[in-house]
Structures are given as structure tokens and as C-alpha cells.
Symmetry: C2
Subunit: 422 residues, 2 copies
């Protein structure tokens, strides 16, 4: 077939129809893991996750895209091309605890709509296109550190499926088996056929919404590290232990929480540090806390700055622990290096934005994404659509339907360049 | 029968035998709610609690003491006297979460051993004696604020059995019904027949152990207050919300934790403040905390000092919340005024210590106890035995068997005075 330099047709009514299809699917998918407050909790390998994946599979098939699952349960809707080389696009299905209906899933839906339209309009591409519904990205049930992305890039270590456990003590391997997946086959998920990856995603921050831009061409991904910290002191009776004789693990943790905040502020934007998780034992109101377990998530686009950030946090922790006679244990929870995304893929996204006549900007991502992993094995970049109010990881996450339509158009134009032209 | 001024007989072998009986019972009772680490978690109206109460009932009956339960499930082993006036002695059966085997229960066991010996040695007393196995004192499952003691003193409010719920949302009324107790009958638990209450208890602090004393005659009880605090900020994504734009509930809670510690230290001993319980929502490592719920337990023997303490804590909370744009909600969790115990009961305890030839001291209690409630309706005081290492509310709580023997002797001599003489 002919492959013109500029994609010939993408009408306003195409955009409106596809945006409606995407929005309807988002609303159907939010049923899987819906909480009473409208939040979505769709943790990997749970019933809610299985329900969402089944719905995605049906939708892929209805769009004429045959579906397969890889060894860790990520689904791929395939539009076969002349070449077995694959241009991949999509995002993840899982959510954080009490998150929203858009983070991850909207990227799957935008990619599916774009590829459905390309298939219907232009038929078979030069290169094969696959729509990715990645099994896991959020580390919200297990400390996965990008389970789906690591499977595709061959980075899951032997024995990890037994070692990683959820708060109930279920290993990720046994959670996989309960979904009919065999942890022994994880190495088969590694991909050697990818020639490009484009990940559409909500921005999760306020930049686009504040500037009035509709599309972000993401050329850089922030480096993300996570530490899991356990402070051990001495539990005891809240009445009988004088203040001067306490080894209270929670007062120590409180100093570390404030210390992490102070260090991030001293480093200055774009550095951020967050203690999002904290538990106290034994936990009675009349018991001096004997132990406190918590996490520190810290981010910076520059690896050297991230190293300095980590060193400052660990020095501060050490000082707090020794000042309060607490024992500190630290282990890495997550580590995702910063990345500069591929120039050519970014250029295709920019051209697509210009063709679509949409307000756009280049920008970095302050969240960790699968594109950072896949970008290490093939050219990759990301496309952001606005998050209303800059909100994310919250029940009120929302992206306007019109913005979703522009996201589909820009992605369709980009995938056209990457899979039908070039 | 004859009632000499000094109790005629309590031999070394009596003491050793009773101490062995007490220790064996403590070891049997620790099975009810035992954790893998040797801790005891025996929360009111649970299966572990029911098991311990059944074992106590059997033991009372074997000692010749008929048993009855009051409306809230506290058990009373009765040695009837010439008069229906009751001299009560004992303590509580419930524990904190992951506490030890001695707090509360040892007081029941010491009282039971003392009364068993008195009955066997002297038969029927002038006044009736009852051994108390109180259902609930620790507020470790529900925010009970002394459920058993308030039932006996007529202080449980109408509707409270529906309002008080455990972390799983079970109301204390429905937990009662599951144990065959009828919340409608709570008012029947009120006592008008008490003429004295003596509560034996472990010290839960280091004073006796450090001084080498074996018995504490407790003439004063600390005032205890508890606040339940909820801080509400804005949840969000740990990567995309700049530090300067956060309303992080946990950093606010951390400031309050350290503020409470600072205020208690500024007030100086014996003031203490403890944040023992803290939970964070939504709780993911990559989510800025939107809410933090925690408690502050604070204590001082002097009511006016306690008022000033509370005012300082609330001012500090207010300042933290407004500085971080957080919404703070506060509700009282527990409130137990300080008390000066009864002179005559204390004098009986002192005389008993002298007769037993044991090293003893007068001292205050820094923990809240049922004696503070019962002391408002009848003359009351407490008897402390040492806590090894000053430890309490921990799995390694321990009182030496020899010290338990002296506790039984001193209590037997005291109850002899209160129930056979006077």
C-alpha cells in the first residue's frame, strides 16, 4: 500500500468517536477494583486485576487484534505487519491502593484506540504493532520494582518469584500460579523483537493543566529510588517508662520523616522525597513503640544528584538512630535510573502534535514508568495527556474526554510514522 | 471464730507452695492468646479471652469459691462471710497487643491464692471476700476506657455498646453477645456492696527492681488521658507533586509526635507523653500521605498539671496543622483522673509488709488501673510486685516466683485485716 509522508486522514469526528470509545472503556474498567469512595484498587494478580485483563482481552479481540499473554500475564493485542519487528505501545493495568481510574489504564486504552483506527484505516502495517496491557508497574502489592517491564527486559532474578511477598505473606509466584501463570517460564517473557516503544500516560502532575497544553512530549524520565527502613527500639508501658529512658522507634521515625523532607527541600526542585508507608509495632495507644517500618521514595532526573541525595538520607538516618539508641536496617525497595528518551521517537511525537494542531510541550516525567525500562532495550518515549488539577494516585484522577481524543490522534500519527513509514 | 490482732500463721512453706501454684497458673493462662514470640495478646471477648476466663472459673471452683459473671463478663470467685459487705481483690484478664503474661492476670492469681489460703486456714470471714477477674482494662481492642471498672461503678453510657467498635468494625455490644452477654443488662453490673478494694499488680516500671524492694504500697495513681487525632491533607503522587505544594499528613503527624515528646520533657518527670498508635493512608510507598491517624497518651499525677499538659499539646497540634494546611480532628480516647488511695487500706498493706518482714516502700503508680475507678466508690489501694528489668507491655514481662509468694502473703494478711478483723 501507499505510505504518504503525512498521514492522510484523521477527522474531528474520528477523534470524537475514538474519545467516546476510550472514555466508555475507562468507565467499564473502573468497575474492576472500585472502592466505595470511587477509588480504584487493582493490585496485580487479584480478582479485580483478572477482571480488568479479561475485559481488555475482549476489547482487543473485538478490535480485530489477536491477544496473547506473556509469562507474567501482560497482554499484547497484535496487528501483524510485513516485518516481525514490533512497534509497541501501551501502559499498565494495575493501580496503587485507593488510586484513580486513569493512571496506567488510559495508556492501554489510548494505544488500543489508535491501533484499532490505524488497522481500520490503513490495514496491514510494514512493521507489526502491539498494544501492551502491562501486568504490573506500581509495586503496590509486592515490592515488584516494575514486574512487567523487568520481565520484558529479562531483569527478573532467579528465585524472586518466591522471595517477593505481599503483606499477607503470599509470594508473587504463588499469586501467579493462582492466575494460571507458571513462574518457571518468566524468562520467556524477554523481548528481542522491539524496535520502538511509545507509552501514553496521564501526566500525574500540574504542568500541562496549568499551561493549558494538551500533549506532553516526554523526553526525559526521572530516576526513582526507594528504601525500606526498619527502626528497632524498645517497646514498653506508656506510663511507667520515664521520657529520659525511652528508646521509642516512632519518635525516631518521625525525625527521619522530617529529615527526608528537609533534605529534599535543601536539594531544591525537582528533588522530591516521600515517606508514604509507615507502620508501628506493637501499636497500642498505651505502648511505647518498639519498632517502626517505613519507606522513603526519592527522585531526581540526574543520577549523580540521586547518589548524593541517597548519601544524605542515609547519613541523616544514621544520626537519628545513634542519637536515640535505635537499630536501623535499610534495604533497597526500588531503583529506576533516570533516562533521556529517544530523539527520533520524540521527533515523531512532535511532528504528530504539529499535524494535529494541538498545544503541546516537551517536558520531563517526574514519575517512574515502564518506558524507562523498555527504553534500555529499544528506542522509546512517552506522550502525556493532562491530569485535571494535577491529581494522580487519588480517587479523583481525571482526564477530559477531549484531551483523550487528542492523545489518540497524536499516538495514531506517531505509530503511523514508526510502523507504516520510516 | 476468734480473730487475733495479728494473723497467726503464714509459714515459709505456705508461701513457697502458693507461689508455685500461682506460677503454674500463670504459665497455663499464657497459652490463651500466646504469640510465636512468647507474647500474649488477649483482647476482650475474643476466643483467647474466653479461654482464659474459663480456666480462671475452673480454678476458682477448685479453690472452693463459687463463681458468677457480671453483665460485662467480669468473673467473681466468692468466699461468703457473715456480712454481705464485700472486700474485693483482683485485677484484669485482658492484655495489650503483644504484651506479656503478668500484667493484670498476676493480680487475679495473687488474689485467688490469698483467698484460697484464707478460706482453708480460717474458714468463713466476717465480711464476704470476692476475687475479681475483670473483663477489660487495657483499651486494646475497643477504646473502652476501663470497661469492667466503669460497669462496676455505673459509668457506661447508654448506647456506648453500639458506638464502640474495634478495628474490624465490630461493636463491643455484638462482641458481648457473641460471648453470651446481653448489653442491655450492663447497668446490673454496678456495685453498691463494696467496702474495700485491693488490687495486686506488677509494677510495670523499674522502681522496686532498682531499689531491691519486693512490695510497693501504692498510695497514689497517675491521671491518664488519651487523645485520638486525625490529620487530613491531600494524597497524591510521590513524583509529580513538588515539595512546596504538598499537604502531607504524615510530615504533620511527625511534627506532632516530636512536639508531644518535647512538651513532656519540658514539663519534666513524672510527665510522660506517648504516640503509640499511628496509621497512614493511602499507605503506598509512592503516594503522598493524605491522612494520618494517631493517638497521644499523656500522664501526670496532678489534675491541674494534666490540664496544662493537654492545653500545650492542643496548641502545638493547632500550630502544626495550620502551618501545613492540614485539617485536624481530635476526640478524647480515655480519661482517668489521678487519685490518692485510701489511708486505712494503705496502712493495712504497710502493717502486712512489716508482719511479713519484706522490703517494701510507698510509691505512686504511673499506669492507669481499675483501683482508680473503684477507689471512687469504696476505700481502695494497690500492692505492687516487681517487674524484672522494669519491663511491661512486652513479651518478656516477668516477676520472680519468690516475689509472687511475698505478694500473696502481704495480700492475705491485708485481706485478713479487712475481712476477718476490723
Amino acid at each position: 500500500m501507499a505510505t504518504p509522508a503525512v498521514m492522510p486522514s484523521f477527522s474531528d469526528s474520528d477523534r470524537a468517536e475514538l474519545a467516546q470509545e476510550a472514555d466508555a472503556l475507562i468507565q467499564r474498567l473502573r468497575r474492576h477494583g472500585r472502592g466505595e469512595d470511587g477509588s480504584v484498587t487493582r493490585l496485580v494478580y487479584t480478582a479485580a486485576w483478572q477482571g480488568a485483563m479479561a475485559e481488555i482481552e475482549d476489547w482487543f479481540r473485538a478490535a480485530g487484534l489477536p491477544v496473547r499473554s506473556d509469562a507474567v500475564g501482560s497482554r499484547f493485542g497484535r496487528l501483524s505487519g510485513d516485518s516481525p519487528e514490533v512497534v509497541l505501545s501501551g501502559s499498565h493495568i494495575d493501580s496503587v491502593v485507593r488510586g484513580g481510574a486513569y493512571d496506567g489504564v488510559l495508556g492501554v486504552v489510548i494505544a488500543g484506540c489508535a491501533v484499532h483506527w490505524l488497522a481500520a484505516t490503513f490495514g496491514r502495517p510494514k512493521r507489526t504493532i502491539e498494544v501492551l496491557a502491562n501486568c504490573e508497574e506500581e509495586s503496590s502489592r509486592f515490592s515488584c520494582n516494575f514486574w512487567g517491564g523487568r520481565a520484558m527486559t529479562g531483569r527478573i532474578l532467579e528465585g524472586e518469584s518466591d522471595r517477593l511477598t505481599d503483606p499477607e505473606g503470599v509470594s508473587i509466584g504463588s499469586a501467579m500460579r493462582a492466575c494460571g501463570l507458571d513462574p518457571e517460564r518468566i524468562p520467556e517473557a524477554e523481548r528481542a523483537d522491539l524496535v520502538a516503544f511509545v507509552e501514553p500516560h496521564i501526566e500525574q502532575g500540574p504542568v500541562l493543566a496549568t499551561a493549558g497544553d494538551v500533549i506532553g512530549v516526554v523526553d526525559q524520565g526521572v530516576g526513582v529510588r526507594g528504601l525500606s527502613i526498619s527502626l528497632q527500639g524498645a517497646a514498653g508501658h506508656a506510663g511507667t517508662i520515664p521520657m529520659a529512658r525511652r528508646r521509642d522507634a516512632l519518635t525516631g521515625a518521625a525525625e527521619v520523616v522530617l529529615g527526608a523532607e528537609r533534605i529534599a527541600k535543601e536539594q531544591g526542585a525537582p528533588a522530591v522525597a516521600t515517606v508514604g508507608h509507615l507502620t508501628v509495632e506493637p501499636g497500642g495507644f498505651n505502648q511505647v513503640p518498639g519498632s517502626a517500618d517505613f519507606t522513603i521514595d526519592f527522585r531526581h532526573p540526574n543520577e549523580a544528584a540521586l547518589d548524593r541525595f541517597e548519601a544524605s538520607l542515609l547519613r541523616m538516618l544514621e544520626k537519628v538512630a545513634s542519637g536515640r539508641e535505635l537499630e536501623a536496617r535499610t534495604r533497597p525497595l526500588i531503583g529506576q535510573p533516570g533516562i533521556r528518551f529517544d530523539d527520533h521517537v520524540c521527533a515523531c511525537l512532535e511532528t504528530a502534535c504539529q499535524e494535529a494542531g494541538v498545544a503541546w510541550r516537551r517536558m520531563p516525567s517526574h514519575a517512574g514508568h515502564d518506558a524507562q525500562l523498555l527504553g534500555s532495550i529499544c528506542p522509546a518515549a512517552m506522550l502525556f495527556v493532562p491530569s485535571q488539577g494535577g491529581h494522580s494516585h487519588r480517587p479523583d484522577e481525571y482526564t477530559e474526554v477531549a484531551h483523550i481524543g487528542y492523545g489518540i490522534e497524536v499516538l495514531a500519527r506517531t505509530l503511523f510514522r514508526l510502523a507504516y513509514q520510516d
